[in-house]
């Protein structure tokens, strides 16, 4: 699934538009930064309620191209700015992380390998 489609499926509002045609290789959901550092893979979508600037550093280091803030969390200005610089797509969805994941799976998002 492409980033643009994942945005549409989760009803998300885009704050930073990166490469919306980028194909997502998988997805992970979590709010512990070290857990994401350990488990995320290059090209994955990251669903989280962490909306401070440090999320961008994790995404850069793990080459995560799309951060989706869940439960209507509004990313800090500093996170928006950093994602812009790094070309990371940043969006916020009113759905919980659970519901966003469910909607993505229902729309055919493949099992992450």
């Amino acid at each position: 699934m492409k980033i643009g489609e994942a945005v549409r499926v989760t009803g998300a509002s885009v704050l930073v538009e990166g490469d919306m045609d980028r194909e997502l290789g998988g997805a992970i959901s979590g709010d512990l930064l070290s857990f994401i550092m350990a488990e995320a893979r290059e090209g994955w979508l990251w669903i989280t309620i962490q909306t401070h600037v440090n999320a961008a550093a994790v995404a850069v280091l793990k080459e995560v191209p799309f951060i989706l803030a869940a439960s209507g969390r509004m990313p800090d200005r500093t996170l928006v700015d950093r994602c812009s610089v790094e070309g990371i797509t940043l969006a916020t969805t009113p759905m919980s992380a659970f519901d966003a994941a469910g909607a993505l799976r229902e729309a055919g998002f493949p099992i992450s390998s």
Binding site: L32, L33, S34, M37, A38, V53, N54, A57, V60, L61
Partner: protein, 144 residues
């Protein structure tokens, strides 16, 4: 014939949480520029990030240094913080002394040192209560 190792070093400022990951991100850019294989870059990035985070959160700031040799790289973090009273306990996944405030930001999950160990070919911790902590992690470049 061996070349001079490449050294890059940054100060980790106490209390500047928004800066966590800055030094690691610079290291990563350097490694990519040096043409290091991407899986090694990713491992080094995890080590650098967790070391940087530890030095800031637990060590009250310090230094982060990366040395790139022909066949391996070394990431060293040093701080003058409180030291680690029980390293074995600190190595246990999930054990953390981080405050609630830090945990709410998603740090302090008790995964830092285990993450470093998992991604390093060798890891040494030299710590003394009241003096500080030095961590040294090595990633070898040898291919399968």
């Amino acid at each position: 014939m061996g070349q001079e190792p490449y050294v890059e070093e940054y100060a980790i400022q106490a209390g500047d949480f928004s800066a966590i990951g800055e030094a690691s991100t610079k290291f990563k850019a350097t490694l990519k520029m040096l043409g290091i294989a991407s899986d090694l870059v990713r491992r080094a990035s995890v080590i650098a990030y967790e070391s940087e985070m530890n030095a800031l959160i637990h060590g009250g700031g310090g230094m982060l240094r990366m040395t790139v040799h022909d066949d391996h790289l070394v990431i060293e973090a040093s701080d003058s913080g409180p030291g680690i009273p029980d390293v074995q306990l600190a190595m246990q996944e999930g054990y953390s002394t981080a405050t609630d405030e830090i945990r709410e930001l998603g740090f302090g999950a008790g995964m830092g040192l285990p993450n470093i160990q998992r991604n390093a070919d060798a890891m040494e911790i030299d710590t003394e209560v009241g003096r500080g902590t030095r961590l040294r992690a090595t990633v070898a470049f040898k291919q399968g």
